[in-house]
Symmetry: C2
Amino acid sequence: MQQAIADHIDARLPETIESLKTLTRQPSVSAQRLGVRECGEMTVEMLRGAGFDAELVPTADPDYPGIIAELKGASDKTLLFYNHYDVQPPDPLDEWETPPFEPVERNGHLYGRGISDDKGPIIARLAAVSAVRETLGELPVTIRWCMEGAEEIGSPGFHEFVEANADRLRSDACIWEGGGVNWDGRPLITLGVKGLLYVELECRSAATDSHSSYAPVVPNPAWRLVWALNTLKDPGERVALPGFYDSVRPALEREIEAIAGLPDTSREFLHDLGVEMAVGEASGYEFRRRLIQEPTANIAGFGSGYTGEGAKTVTPAVAKAKLDFRLVPNQNPDEILASLRKHLDAHGFSDVAVSVLSAEHPARTPLDDPFVALVADTARRVYGADAYFMPSMTGTGPQHPVQHILGVPVASCGVDYPGNRIHAPNENIRLDYFRLGVLHAAELITALGE
Amino acid sequence: MQQAIADHIDARLPETIESLKTLTRQPSVSAQRLGVRECGEMTVEMLRGAGFDAELVPTADPDYPGIIAELKGASDKTLLFYNHYDVQPPDPLDEWETPPFEPVERNGHLYGRGISDDKGPIIARLAAVSAVRETLGELPVTIRWCMEGAEEIGSPGFHEFVEANADRLRSDACIWEGGGVNWDGRPLITLGVKGLLYVELECRSAATDSHSSYAPVVPNPAWRLVWALNTLKDPGERVALPGFYDSVRPALEREIEAIAGLPDTSREFLHDLGVEMAVGEASGYEFRRRLIQEPTANIAGFGSGYTGEGAKTVTPAVAKAKLDFRLVPNQNPDEILASLRKHLDAHGFSDVAVSVLSAEHPARTPLDDPFVALVADTARRVYGADAYFMPSMTGTGPQHPVQHILGVPVASCGVDYPGNRIHAPNENIRLDYFRLGVLHAAELITALGE
């Protein structure tokens, strides 16, 4: 990269951080429909200020407009940015050291809800685009930008949004949200997401709760749900849904290498969560392999009857469980759902209703895609270290439509570090890593144009 | 019974009902420690007003004093009354047609929290005692009275209370709370209670909830509890605890006859609760047999993770289940507890902690006890109909110490009818049945002295 671009980024850094504070001060809590559109409008204004053609684009729900923006470059190459401008709810509020929507700098960190997920990356990319454009006079590639305002509630309608606007979004490559460095400061490039099937199981046996002295004759839906769930997974952690593992594509050699190359942080990871022993006593490679390659059936919630203090002798009328399946290539949430319904029926649990709360396909960009090499090369130049590769996030995002409707390879390049506490109180970024994230984005834009 | 006693009861009925309203206006919600002692003091004053030696007697918890009272009679025979002066919380308040602690008469019913459970019976017995004493000049038998103020929270310390005061409570027979008539107006005499073991199972696997994307490595306590519970009972409803059924005394011939003699109300019962089909599709005799003879393992509550609206992708740190075992003679809650712990350990669930919230032995008075015949004979004279016999309540009460420490046969004789809605909004008594309950108590006192 030209030194002039780096100098531009550094000269403007205070201003860039002010912009990030401004965007963070605007709440945009999608789960609470709080300030989302206002934040979308503010983001569009910032994009226009940097020279983009930008507009809010309606989605199925008018509270959550998408954003499409474009800034033409000299070559016919096109780079797509994916981000979201909504944030998680700030609760629990009393665990924040400073108010979530009043961003504050402390000891080289910047704190605030959304500062890392996902407003920091938006501002970092804007700063990179401006630095390259103002230094070179023109962008070497066209930048397209796709943002949504409902990522934190599972991106409802995003698939349709991408489909409807495919012509305005199609690009040569996409930089996803997230990305940044690992604990040791080496860059971490993530190349995919797990899929998700999130369902609620409900069993009802009566109109109202009843006195538990009637339990000899009144069917108990909590027992029904315990028995039904028990058929889905055994203590060996193997999911018993027929065909669940059939479509799992075995790990590729490059994926195994990448996972093996990641540092072993299993002890710190478990210590942070207060967990004594990992599932299957996994550690080292197997610990990381599980996180990246293993599909799950997780009970996210189980509620029935009386759960307050002390004793209440009641037979519940209803029992509900929330269950999320994280899926890996090439599992398909629709097939898993069909298998779940069929399995419950076959085991005598047709009284257990299943409703889908969220569904997302897994997606991965192959490690040998040339774009991955470009992201890694530019990272090496900025960070002075080889990148780690995560074949997939452990979590889920709406990457499937981008990879499969737009046909675009996707990688991450961001401002995160492992202590950023996204979705939690005291969400933060480290300003030194934020700066490196801006530099990396600028380096990438420049390199893609060469 | 002498007509004079009945006339006395009828003449004083308005006054008796006023006393019941007064006692009901004094809240005594043991679960909330609300007004309990004040109600105890008011009850003692009423007892003294009727000629009793009466006093509050301390228990382990000073908020819940017991009451012991005595009124000497002409013979050396002694009848014990058991009652409790505390009441259930009135929630949900918005479902009361009139405020729970402002008793109101409507269409031959009297409404208020505790009016049936258990203040109506207290006032009814007081009225009966006064009528007999004032008409005959002296009671034919000595009446002893044992009351507690913590029955609705599981009678903590009642066993010790009876033990400590056994000499002042020992009697020839005991009239329990409850009792009254069935839907058809025929008297219903209940002769026992089920036992109870109420436990909380808790499994914890982490210090805090974590993002469910970590589920491949973070143990899920909700799954652990599902698997543990699944080993306790199968869909066939048979409790799988080793030895659970071993000490169950088979139903006696007289018990089978009594159960067979009860009317079949299973359809109305299920309809009221909005239940389509009873456990095991039981109906008729089997339905009643289950309610009276069958021990249970009931999930009263299961709570883990996120149970609100919508989706939250979380792996819970902790899962808790409340479980109540209703026990029949001769099951022993201490043995069941030991078996539960051993069973969980044997199945690999030593990580599931068990804490006891309540424990009570079952208790029954044999159907062929002469006191039962006396209660039935006097009931026939008052109600003009043969009594039904319930060998046991479906529920639990602290009857074991009375039967086994004091060695006293126990039967019911009360003012209830099946629509009294105890523990629920709009608790009520029917005034005609209340009057018959007073008459029955007076008849019983008189007959016992003969």
